[in-house]
Amino acid sequence: PLRPTSSLPQSFLLKCLEQMRKVQADGTVLQERLCATHKLCHAEELVLLGHALGIPQPPLSSCSSQALQLTGCLRQLHSGLVLYQGLLQALAGITPELAPTLDMLQLDISDFALNIWQQMEELGLAQAVPPSQGTMPTFTSAFERRAGGVLVASNLQSFLELAYRALRCFAKP
């Protein structure tokens, strides 16, 4: 594996950090709107439902400070983003008012995943077959889609928080 700090182009890392901040900002807007319009403000109130719905949470072990490892971290970050694209697609039809926010979040996540994939290809780190989204939960009611939105947005924020700290280490000159 490549030494963490010097191997990634500085501009790629700066772009990733920028894209992460944008996705986090989009996620916050989704959370704020779900809270304001539907009084669903705390993911902790929906844990039971989350278990029943079976909302997957992608691993980021190679990005954790104890086992920081570039190739593994980029791969996990990329597959996690692909998974979140799938989860957000499963939430389609959440509410007409939230649709634009959801669309923006999906566009920014897919841009971010593409940016990482292309960089991994250029560094020869990309797997032969890009990761697939896997089986997605089905949300059978308007409430489940809204509750799913709260859970997915909350999980996404913690996922990005961890990834952000990892990439910042790589970005320090």
């Binding site: 109130e45 929906l46 039971l48 439902l49 278990h51 029943a52 719905l53 009611s141 509750a147």
Partner: protein, 308 residues
């Protein structure tokens, strides 16, 4: 599926009771099958629920809220889990009234947009999303018989006026028009109007000009004013009568009315006025002798009478 609220109807009359039930499947309360189902109305926990175990192992809780006093309420079916209250389903309940009958329906034929513009008063707020539709049909005489239907005219959100385009109109025939209001609790209709579009034509005001003194135009007599006016161009094909009102620019002056002026006489000498005084002149016109609506008053023309 974890929990599901079922409601007889998502919309009730304001002040009415509402009964809801919530069924929790065993795989959701996997920890303690006997865990208690709790209800929240908005953010407050609700007393007074009955819970029972169904044959298939699912738990059902039923709650009756005696009076719904706010137009929008969020009902949550919850389970206590550890020291947190887990939300399993939510249902939005709307409360309001059936729509009152819209009233004061009135229409004007607008020759600029070539459409019949109708407006109405919606009546008191019924707290529910209410759709207003302007309905009409072609008819004869006093609109006892419906000949052809005219497509519904749906106003933009929140607006209480609608325009029926020229292609749906027969300008010289009677048509029946009313407004329908509809929400989740019912439908109501305004009284029906029977009108002929051209008989409610509202013209744009005429235009007034000062007459610059020239060889052909003799200066006005003392105490008189001379001006030129012309009906609104697109209405030249309509025979009309007009009215002039004037008032001196003096404190507490009031309008004096002169009329009718027929639309052929395009030059007018107004006399009997105070000398060396500024006067404000305005005119309006209406289709005549055929029925029509008076136009608004024209922009003012200010002229001053000569010294004595």
């Amino acid at each position: 599926e974890c929990g599901r609220i079922s409601l007889p109807t998502p919309t009730v009359h304001l002040g009415d009771p509402i009964t809801a039930s919530c069924i929790i499947s065993p795989n959701c309360s996997h920890l303690d099958p006997e865990s208690q189902i709790l209800w929240k109305l908005g953010t407050e926990l609700q007393p007074g629920k009955r819970q029972r175990r169904l044959a298939d192992g699912r738990q059902e809780s039923t709650i009756t809220v005696p009076r719904l006093d706010s137009p929008w309420v969020l009902l949550s079916c919850c389970l206590r889990w550890g020291n947190s209250l887990q939300i399993l389903d939510q249902a939005e309940v709307q409360a309001g009234y059936p729509p009152a009958a819209p009233h004061n329906l009135s229409c004007l034929m607008n020759l600029t947009t070539n459409s019949l513009i109708c407006q109405w008063e919606p009546g008191p707020n019924n707290h529910l999303p209410t759709n207003f539709t302007l309905k009409s049909f072609k008819s004869r005489g006093n609109c006892q018989t419906q000949e052809d239907a005219i497509p519904d005219c749906v106003p933009n959100d929140g607006q209480n006026h609608c325009s029926i385009p020229r292609r749906h109109l027969q300008l010289y025939q009677s048509m029946g028009i009313w407004v329908q209001a509809e929400n989740a609790l019912g439908t109501s209709k305004s009284p029906q109007l029977c009108l002929v579009p051209m008989d409610v034509v509202k013209l744009e005001p005429p235009t007034l000009w000062a007459l610059a003194p020239s060889p052909e135009v003799a200066a006005p007599q003392p105490g008189c004013l001379l001006f030129h006016w012309e009906p609104w161009k697109p209405s030249l094909y309509i025979e009309q009568k007009c009215e002039l009102r004037h008032q001196p620019q003096l404190a507490e002056a009031s309008w004096a009315l002169v009329g009718p002026l027929l639309s052929q006489t395009l030059q007018y000498e107004l006399c009997g006025l105070l000398p060396s005084t500024a006067y404000v002149l305005q005119m309006r016109c209406t289709r005549w002798p055929l029925p029509g609506q008076w136009s608004d008053w024209s922009p003012s023309l200010t002229l001053a009478t000569a010294q004595r």
